[in-house]
């Protein structure tokens, strides 16, 4: 099994593991951000370049460093490879450049975007980006399109990560949408205004890292940070029925799948669960969803201590010790 060192952490991983997945096995701050790679979708990754890392030592046999940063989601590890992510200032500078390129045509309409607060591009630009745009030219403009009666496409916000296309290819029967044209005129589109209409199409919304594909039933209803996310499940014949309800009082504003810490869905959910079941009585509540405390959604969001995994007795002991000394 090849041994790889990422930012000083060494781990042994199975043959053929990508650097990104090796970093995820280590976990923590050293995991490169990823906008297009999605572990549950085959052949995803390699488009956005946010996951670039610096390989300072190719392998045990060939210790030469790689001349340029490489996309960690597409590069497999070699035995004895040494990788730098957050410990390399040049790499962080390069990633900053990538973020700037991703934002070149982005309209930055976060105040009206439903994705704001849970948007990966927002987090990314906050962590790596400049707080100012250097781009003077006109940004790309598109009409808003309804793809089906439940999904809205804002092409201006799209970063062409191809995740939704992979969902259509791999999850939905019969793909009707894809990326048209190429270069800076490339856009997500359906085949001659066809509507995306099948039981799994709603997952496109969840995989979209930005606000390009949004839920029309939730459009402008509320801001994410004013809603209360609750884990809930229901008996569903098509999907696992495990979802997150975004509540405002007793009203179910939105239903989404459960996302892990990398923003990837744990289970695909069907459109019936996502769009039709907007009553609290349709669902069995499990409890509040765990939200990372760095997220704006955690504002006024209360969970039980058990879910937060805080051991009160441990805290008490620490406090007592501090008090005694």
């Amino acid at each position: 099994m090849p041994k790889v060192t990422i930012d000083g952490h060494t781990i042994e991983v199975p043959e053929g593991t990508t650097i990104l997945n090796a970093a995820r096995m280590i976990g923590g701050d050293i995991v490169p951000p990823a906008m297009c790679y999605y572990s549950k979708l085959a052949t995803s990754g390699g488009y956005c370049r946010t996951c670039i890392v610096q390989v300072t030592k190719g392998s045990e046999k060939d210790p030469r460093p790689m001349p340029k940063p490489v996309a960690s989601c597409r590069t497999t590890v070699m035995d004895g490879m040494e990788v730098k992510n957050i410990t390399s200032p040049e790499l962080l500078e390069a990633r900053k450049g990538v973020v700037e390129f991703l934002l070149i045509n982005h309209p930055l309409d976060c105040p009206i975007c439903d994705q704001a607060g849970e948007c990966h591009l927002q987090d990314l630009s906050y962590e790596h980006g400049l707080n100012k745009s250097r781009y003077d030219f006109k940004r790309r403009e598109f009409e808003k399109i309804d793809i089906g009666d439940k999904i809205k496409l804002h092409m201006t916000r799209c970063i062409l990560c191809y995740r939704c296309v992979k969902v259509a290819e791999q999850i939905c029967p019969g793909r009707v949408h894809g990326v048209m044209n190429r270069g800076d005129v490339a856009e997500i589109s359906t085949y001659i205004k066809n509507s995306v209409d099948n039981e799994w199409s709603g997952n496109m919304i969840d995989v979209c890292p930005v606000g390009a594909l949004t839920d029309k039933t939730f459009r402008f209803k509320s801001r994410v940070w004013f809603t209360k996310p609750m884990d809930a499940h229901r008996k569903c014949e098509t999907c696992s029925g495990k979802a997150v309800l975004w509540l405002s009082g007793d009203e179910v504003l939105r239903v989404t799948g459960r996302k892990d810490k990398y923003g990837e869905l744990e289970d695909w959910i069907c459109n019936t669960c996502r769009f039709e079941k907007k009553n609290k009585s349709d669902w069995t509540m499990e409890g509040p969803r765990h939200i990372d405390r760095h997220s704006v959604i955690s504002q006024n969001h209360y969970e039980s201590l058990k879910q937060l995994k805080i051991d009160v007795s441990k805290q008490k002991k620490i406090a007592e010790k501090a008090h005694q000394s």
């Binding site: 976060c110 105040p111 009206i112 704001a116 402008f220 940070w225 004013f226």
Partner: protein
């Protein structure tokens, strides 16, 4: 117990003298104080006819600004409400319909925007959070009222008028901030 101040007095139940028993000297003494205050400079002013000078950065009654073309700046992004430490702001968003472009600047707007003036602490964090330069605190004092319901200010009391005369000037505060 140790006394907190040196003003405490021990109560003595002694027999009063004749002068003390007729109370008149004490009453006259008290009246003298009242009469003396009549001729002193008054500490109160006749508000609202009279007003005290206020700092240029005074924060009072909010305004929701419009742009030069008279369109509302607010897009109901909710940042003011999330920044508000008193949780005084609530809003409901709506989508702009075709033909309403002269009313609202962007495709989303606040159909309901309410500030509970009883909860508001006039800290100005909403103004700081606003990405659209929509909400400002002005030097207008919030009028008093008899009913609690009247202190929930909706868009009718917050949005400034379209006509140039009805616009509310917020530049005074901005200028004052710049000189500090």
């Amino acid at each position: 117990m140790q006394a907190l101040t040196n003003r405490s007095m021990v109560v003595v139940n002694k027999k009063m003298t004749w002068m003390e028993r007729i109370y008149l000297p004490a009453i006259i003494g008290g009246l003298m104080i009242t009469i003396r205050h009549l001729f002193k400079k008054k500490v109160t002013i006749q508000y609202p006819e009279q007003e005290r000078p206020r700092s240029a950065v005074y924060r009072g009654w909010h305004v929701l600004k419009r742009d030069e073309q008279g369109r509302e700046n607010c897009t109901a992004c909710g940042l003011c409400a999330v920044a508000c430490p008193a949780e005084a702001i609530t809003m409901t968003a709506a989508e702009r319909k075709p033909g309403e472009e002269h009313l609202y600047r962007e495709e989303k707007y606040a159909s309901v925007y309410e500030i509970n003036m009883l909860r508001c602490i006039f800290c100005g964090l909403c103004e700081e959070a606003c990405p659209k330069e929509a909400i400002f605190l002005t030097d207008r004092i919030v009028p008093s009222g008899m009913l609690r319901e009247n202190f929930i200010f909706g868009k009718d009391k917050l949005v400034e008028g379209v006509e140039p005369d009805n616009r509310i000037d917020v530049s005074k505060r901005a200028r004052a901030h710049r000189t500090y």
